[in-house]
Structures are given as structure tokens and as C-alpha cells.
């Protein structure tokens, strides 16, 4: 067991750093126990050991070392001051930073929102266009359905009068018409050849009165299969005042007076 005096004898060597590990561990354990006398003696031993530096032969560092050191130190001192000054001089209150941040966020949000709204408007426009197109299609379908229904009613109603319209050309098919005194007039045909280029078929009402001129009515085209069904809801004259129906070939848009010989004629009984 080491005594206190034995520890004291180790202090100079400990300060010198020359104690072997076993002695060093023992001494450090003793110092850690709080021996104030050894702690004070150790501080003096450290001072004493530091004096051995004077054993070193005289030598002088180069001027280059001094210049290098001072250059570094001056640069660090210069960089410290402006940085510190800059920090204080340009210090911005926190609320200003918060305001800038809020504005930035608002700008970003506004830009995003504007684009979002534009997209939404564009989508709505597309939807509206689609709905309009759909409505138009439905209206057309409805109109067609109404016309078909109207035609069917005219065609099936007992009040309607059937009018046969034989062709002048025996190679052409016969047409049929059905005239209802209130609902109107329907003319149908099958396997009817298309009229010439830029020409249409036009319906005429031939009045009974003497010297009466043919009254122009609707124009129409047969489809690719030569089929057509033309309805006149409000004929230009009444059935009782009409002698016959006639169809001629006329320029596109129709004519106020027939410009060609009738291709089909049917007497209204």
C-alpha cells in the first residue's frame, strides 16, 4: 500500500509525463480521492517541470513564420469585425422576416391559385361545351323524334289524305304524300336518284284557281340510299285549295318559280 509520502515522490515524474502506467494509475486514484496537499504539490511540480524548457538551445524562428502568423491573424480579425458589424448593421427584425416570408408564401399561393382557377375555368368551359354539344345533340334527336312522331301521326291519322305522285320518267320510283288538314304535309320516297350537282328537289303546291301559279315549298335531298321524308308543317296553301303536288329539280336554295319540268306530280283529291 502506497503511503502519502510515496505519492508525493511521484508528483514530479507525473508532471513530467514519465510515470509508467502502473504508478500513474495509483497516483491518479490518490489524486481523485481529493488529497488537497498532493493537488497543490502537483501544481508546483508542473510549474517546476515547465522550467526545463530553458534547457533548449537558443533558436530563433524565421521572419516568414511571423509574417505568416500575422497575416492569418489580421485576416481573421478583419473577417470577424465586418461580420459582426454586418450582423448588427443588417439585422432585420424578426417580424419583417416573418412579413417577407408571409408575402412570399402568399405570392406562391396566389400563383398556384390562379393557375388552379384557370385550370378549373378551362375544365368548366370544356364541360359546358360538352354539355352544349350534348344538349344540341339531344335537341336534334328530340327534334328528329318529334318530326318522326309528327310524320307518323300524319301518316297514320284518318284525317290524312294519301296522295300518290307517279314519276314523269317511268324509270323513276313513285313517291307518296300524306296531307293532314291540321298537322301538315309529308312526302316520302325510296330509291330516288340524287339530283344533279348543286341542285335540289323542290315541292310545289299547284293551286286550283285558274291562273294560279305554283306555290314554292320546301327543298330536300334523298339520302345515299335514295330515301327521303320531307315534312311541311305549314303548307303555303290549304288542301282544299290545292289541285296537285309537284316536285321539280331546282338550284340549291330553291326557286320562287319552277325552272324545270315537274319530275313527279300527284293530284290532291
Amino acid at each position: 500500500m502506497n503511503t502519502h509520502d510515496e505519492f508525493r515522490e511521484l508528483l514530479e515524474a507525473y508532471a513530467l509525463g514519465s510515470l509508467d502506467s502502473a504508478d500513474r494509475a495509483l497516483l491518479e486514484t490518490h489524486l481523485a480521492s481529493g488529497c488537497a496537499e498532493c493537488a497543490k504539490a502537483l501544481e508546483e511540480a508542473r510549474w517546476l517541470v515547465s522550467q526545463l524548457a530553458y534547457l533548449a538551445p537558443n533558436a530563433e524562428p524565421s521572419d516568414i513564420l511571423k509574417g505568416r502568423l500575422l497575416q492569418t491573424v489580421r485576416a481573421e480579425a478583419a473577417s470577424d469585425s465586418p461580420q459582426q458589424q454586418a450582423v448588427h448593421a443588417t439585422a432585420v427584425p424578426w417580424w419583417l422576416w416573418a412579413g417577407v416570408a408571409a408575402l412570399l408564401l402568399f405570392s406562391v399561393y396566389s400563383a398556384w391559385n390562379e393557375q388552379h382557377l384557370r385550370n378549373a375555368v378551362a375544365n368548366l368551359q370544356l364541360q359546358a361545351e360538352a354539355q352544349r354539344a350534348e344538349r344540341l345533340k339531344l335537341e336534334q334527336q328530340l327534334s328528329a323524334a318529334k318530326m318522326q312522331a309528327h310524320e307518323a301521326m300524319i301518316w297514320s291519322d284518318p284525317k290524312s289524305v294519301k296522295i300518290k305522285m307517279p314519276p314523269k320518267d317511268p324509270n323513276m320510283p313513285q313517291l307518296e304524300a300524306m296531307w293532314h288538314p291540321e298537322m301538315g304535309l309529308v312526302v316520302r320516297g325510296w330509291k330516288v336518284p340524287s339530283p344533279g350537282e348543286k341542285r335540289v328537289l323542290q315541292l310545289w303546291l299547284i293551286p286550283k284557281r285558274a291562273g294560279g301559279k305554283p306555290m314554292p315549298s320546301m327543298t330536300f335531298w334523298p339520302d345515299a340510299n335514295g330515301k327521303f321524308s320531307a315534312m311541311v308543317e305549314n303548307p303555303p296553301d290549304t288542301m282544299s285549295d290545292t289541285q296537285a303536288l309537284a316536285i321539280t329539280e331546282e338550284p340549291v336554295g330553291g326557286s320562287p318559280q319552277p325552272t324545270s319540268a315537274p319530275m313527279w306530280v300527284g293530284g290532291v283529291s
Binding site: S18, E44, R46, S50, R68, V73, A77
Partner: protein
């Protein structure tokens, strides 16, 4: 002539070092330059004695003074400056000398980055100025038998342990321990003598 590098430094000089260190806290370059002028020669002499290479020694000296500049706040101005600076320089030089060696590990266990040094300096420290203390140190150690002097130098400048010194000098371990302790005790007595 040998001691000419050491300018006399009495108590006023010691307080001047403390004042200069306080000025370093305000990033006073002129204070740093004065500290360098006052102590760079002894620091460089010590580091060169340990490392024996001028270029490497200057690197370590530069490191020591930059640490002084950058970490001046960690220096306790109530403690003697020069012993603290010399201990710092010695530790740095020995670390450089024995990088990653077992001895360095032992040193790192013993020393902090800023060394512990005599907060309670011996009374006789104030009895002599630096120049006269240096003379006493050299005279006393120079008067020792060469083997004993060599043992102390190996411990201080080479950082060798008792066992390593015994092996290097081919002397018994106990003898080496006695040489070193007795040599330091005689140095202490020499420095205590006022005349």
C-alpha cells in the same frame, strides 16, 4: 550570449502578459504581435529541441500561437503565462513527435488541449526574473552527472517513461526514477535560493 534570447521578465512583465492576453479577447492584433515578440524565441527553441526539424517546429509554433489567438478566452489570466505557454508548446511538440503512439495516448490522458499549469505557483517563482531562472535551470541541470542529465532530457524533450529511459540508458529502473526526482528536487532548491 546563450541566455540572450531570454529577455528579463519580472512581476511587471508577468502582469503585462496577462494584460496582452486580455487584449486578445478584443481581437487586438498588436497585442498578439507583442506576445509573439516576447515569447516566440523560447517557444520555438523548445519545440525545435523536441522535434529537431526547423520546418516542422515552425508549423507547431504557428499552431501554438494561433491557438493562443483563437482560444484566448480559455486562458485564466490569474495563472502565470509563460509556464502555461511552454507547457502548451511542449505538449503540442510531443504530440507531433509521437503521433498515434502509445506514449501519445498516455500524454493525451494526462493533458488537455489547454494544459493545466500551476494555479498556485511556488513562492520562489516571483523571486527571480525569467532570465535568472533560465540561468539557474541551465546551471543546475548542467552540473548533474551526464547520465542523470540525460535521463531528465529524455523525459522532458523526448517524452519517454521511466521504463523507456531505463532501457535507453541501460540503467536500473529505480536508478532512473531517483535520478529524475533528485534532479528536479535540486532544481527546485536552486530556484528557491534568492541569491
Amino acid at each position: 550570449m546563450f541566455l540572450a534570447v531570454f529577455s528579463p521578465k519580472g512581476n511587471d512583465e508577468v502582469s503585462l502578459d496577462a494584460t496582452l492576453m486580455q487584449q486578445l479577447l478584443r481581437r487586438d492584433v498588436s497585442a498578439f504581435e507583442e506576445l509573439y515578440e516576447r515569447h516566440s524565441r523560447i517557444v520555438y527553441s523548445l519545440v525545435l529541441r523536441i522535434l529537431r526539424q526547423g520546418a516542422t517546429a515552425e508549423e507547431v509554433v504557428q499552431d501554438v500561437f494561433l491557438q493562443l489567438w483563437r482560444n484566448s478566452a480559455r486562458y485564466d489570466t490569474s495563472r502565470p503565462f509563460v509556464p502555461w505557454l511552454l507547457t502548451l508548446a511542449r505538449n503540442r511538440a510531443l504530440d507531433h513527435l509521437r503521433l498515434k503512439s502509445e506514449r501519445q495516448r498516455r500524454r493525451e490522458e494526462q493533458t488537455e488541449e489547454f494544459p493545466q499549469i500551476a494555479s498556485a505557483v511556488p513562492e520562489y517563482e516571483k523571486a527571480l526574473d525569467e532570465k535568472r531562472r533560465a540561468e539557474r535551470v541551465r546551471a543546475l541541470i548542467g552540473s548533474l552527472p551526464s547520465a542523470q542529465k540525460k535521463a531528465i532530457e529524455l523525459a522532458y524533450f523526448e517524452g519517454l517513461s521511466h521504463s523507456e529511459i531505463a532501457a535507453a540508458l541501460n540503467e536500473p529502473l529505480g536508478t532512473v526514477k531517483s535520478w529524475i526526482r533528485n534532479g528536479l528536487m535540486r532544481l527546485k532548491e536552486s530556484l528557491q535560493a534568492t541569491s
